[in-house]
């Protein structure tokens, strides 16, 4: 088990190297020079002399391989350089914004679990009932309503009309409610339906029939046999979603003026802020790989038939 985790973590190194190289090349393929972007942001006419001067300041006048190797060497020492736009150390910028995004993601995850677990179970137990139909409607809405529009609707209802919650910003738990709900809805809708389907599959499986034949109480059959097995595909999807939520919270962050890392990333893309984009891509890669690893470990917990790395229990 330890060996398996170690091997998976060791596999992270080539993944990160590959991602760093691909990101490095891709951001430079996008038209427009960061030096020019900086000048335009400063409302300075980008004359060739000014562009050359800023390029030299930003270290962009060196050969590409030298820029990459230099960046890689420093990144290996956790020095990700200085943001072109804010002139602050990149790691400090990201660590400043990351807690806000993490908080938003954790809140959304909690909401997703709170809603989708009971809703999915009830929808399966009372298949084709009004509750099931209602959960289906919610799933369609959750999947089809764009995040930004949902955010505005929630603000309009809960902040403007009912005056229950603040419109935007970060500070108190009340500030967290609307952005977390906005981010959570589409995931909650998906997992409700996924859990329902998965439970229905398990309920018609032979091992459930056998459990019932053994005279086990229905609660025990559902809890120990059906739900536990039904959670397997949901766990996989949920694990993948954590990374998506962390990386994809940008629209919600923008609507609710939530000072998170997604907003920082988009701002950096617009500003061609290479050091921030590269560091962000690396951190997200680590998060995705870690989430995958945690999901695999959770599999072992939920289904002892699965042997991680082929080892013995």
């Amino acid at each position: 088990m330890v060996r398996y985790v170690f091997m998976r973590l060791a596999g992270l190194v080539p993944v990160l190297l590959g991602i760093s190289l691909v990101t490095f090349i891709l951001v430079r393929l996008v038209p427009c020079d960061p030096a020019e972007v900086y000048l335009r942001l400063s409302q300075i006419p980008p004359t060739p002399e000014m562009v050359a001067s800023v390029r030299a300041d930003l270290g962009l006048d060196r050969p590409l391989y030298a820029q990459y190797l230099d960046w890689l060497w420093k990144a290996a020492h956790l020095d990700f350089g200085v943001s072109f736009a804010t002139k602050q150390p990149v790691l400090a910028e990201i660590t400043r914004c990351f807690p806000a995004t993490l908080q938003l993601t954790l809140a959304s995850m909690a909401l997703v679990l709170l809603v989708s677990l009971p809703a999915g179970i009830l929808a399966a137990l009372y298949k084709d009932s009004i509750f099931d139909q209602f959960s289906r409607l919610l799933a369609f809405l959750g999947a089809s309503v764009p995040n930004f529009w949902l955010g505005f609707l929630l603000i309009y209802l809960f902040s403007l009309k009912l005056d229950l919650l603040p419109v935007l910003g970060r500070g108190t738990p009340a500030h967290l409610a609307l952005p977390a709900a906005t981010l959570a809805l589409s995931y909650a809708a998906t997992y409700t339906r996924l859990l329902r389907t998965s439970m229905l599959d398990c309920m018609s499986a032979d091992f459930v029939l056998y459990a019932r034949a053994r005279g086990l109480r229905e609660r025990l059959v559902l809890g120990r046999h059906v739900l536990k097995n039904a959670l397997l595909p949901v766990t996989t999807a949920f694990g993948m979603s954590i990374g998506h939520m962390l990386a994809g919270s940008v629209i919600v962050e923008n609507v609710f003026a939530w000072p998170g890392v997604g907003r920082l990333c988009v701002y950096s893309i617009f500003n061609r802020d290479y050091p921030v984009i590269q560091c962000y891509a690396l951190i997200m890669a680590v998060i995705f790989v870690t989430c995958n690893l945690v999901v695999d470990m959770a599999y072992r917990f939920l289904d002892p038939r699965i042997r991680l790395g082929g080892g013995r229990q």
Binding site: I44, A110, P173, N254, R263
Partner: protein, 532 residues
Amino acid sequence: MSRLKHASAALFMLLALLVLTAGCGGKPAGDAARAKSLTFSWSKDIGDLNPHLYSPSQMFAQAMVYEPLVKYAEGGKIEPCLAESWTVSADGREYTFKLRRGVKFSDGSAFDAKAAKKNFDAVLANAQRHQWLDLVNQIQDTEAVDEYTLKVVFKNAYYPALQELSLIRPLRFLGPAGFPDSGKTSEGIKKPIGTGPWVLSEYKKGEYAVFTRNEHYWGAKPKLEKVTVKVIPDGESRVLAFEKGEIDLIFGSGTISLDSFKQLRDSNKYGTMISGPMSTRTLAVNSNRGPTRDLRVRRALQHGFNKQAVIDGVFLGTEKKADTLFSPNFPYCDLGLKPLEYSVEKAGALLDEAGWIKPAGKEFREKDGVPLELELCFDSTNNIQKAVAEVMQGDLKKIGVSLKLVGEESQSYNQRQKDGNFHLIFSDTWGAPYDPHSLVSSMRVPSHADYQAQSGLPMKADIDRKIGEVLLTTDEKARRELYSQILGTLHDQAVYLPVSYQTNMAVYHKNVSGVTFSPQVNEIPLDGIDKT
């Protein structure tokens, strides 16, 4: 079942963690302190407020903390600020400023000629970064003649010197205690210490900034005690926050959509104001590419575009129709130029004359079998440009011109301006106090849409020569004549298609009073605002 219990426990812990971390975010001061406090929002963080540098510092915030020697007033008039008076030598090269006595920085230290020179020196030490500004290139030397006299010597007589000294950056004054140990503000500052009416007192990056009244301020003290600037990137969110009462004032150009402005105005629940012309929303027409090389085609485009429909339909009456590159209320710009009015007939006649004929049964004009097709490039993130472009596409279709709309993200769009890869492209003027002299000066720089648009004109070299002369002449009459010739030629050659004069907009709750507009496009005049 025990595993399910574990899962429930984990969920409970997750929720507990959330509640604990929820209190970790910043929060501006509470309701008790709101009595004389105003909150407004900006789309970006205010930045580090280094007075001698640019992005990420926001100009309105720099202007709250730092002051210039002279300020730009209505109609381009220059008024005293930190300099009480000034004299200019006969050859126009030496400016002697008598500094205002009794002025203190917000830390209580005195503003004097020594402090002023220290700031000039810091800016000149980083002259390469400021080379876009002719003022910095023209300064030869500065001298603290006595405690309250500062002399600035220029390499040439440079008439816009006072206008450019009034700019928000880079020549405003940082208190000596704010300088880094190296003295090089290009490396950053220790603290934003200025002489202006406001002091930055609380700051949470990316979330909000709180400015309090500078108790050492030499001028009339602001009526408000505190101004909070919240970072709200999205315009619609800003409107909702305003309606909820979380912000008191919306100010600026493009800070909210025009639909939202109209809706707030029509509700009669709030105060709304629109400024006079601040800059011009215009299209540059390329005289060096394809069919727009022909003056008759360029003039036909001017006659074929119904600007009034755009003013009514797109701008909802919030901007005024523009007939000239600069609004006549700008210095040297009231030239009585004859507008090229909307007339489908005139447009058609000009195109016929240019040889672009509409074949029977065809929608668009042709010449030697080639259809009359033009590209209009716009910033796809700018909804107003897109809407104007769509109206224009419809108008030009009526005169047989096929207008292809090319919407790209901001930086790619900027690249086209630089490369001249367009027939028409949006290219706004810079606004006061840059207009007209800074924009006219930049027309000589190839990386500008202006240069690219003019590059096909037979008299381009003559225009550039006159631009060089107008910036250096000390003869007011000659300067007026040169501006008349430059702007008149550009108007006649139809290399600009002015659409509207941009305005600043303000929306505020009815308990807010004293809202006005500054003559400078990037300044927010908060000093006179009060709140009950």
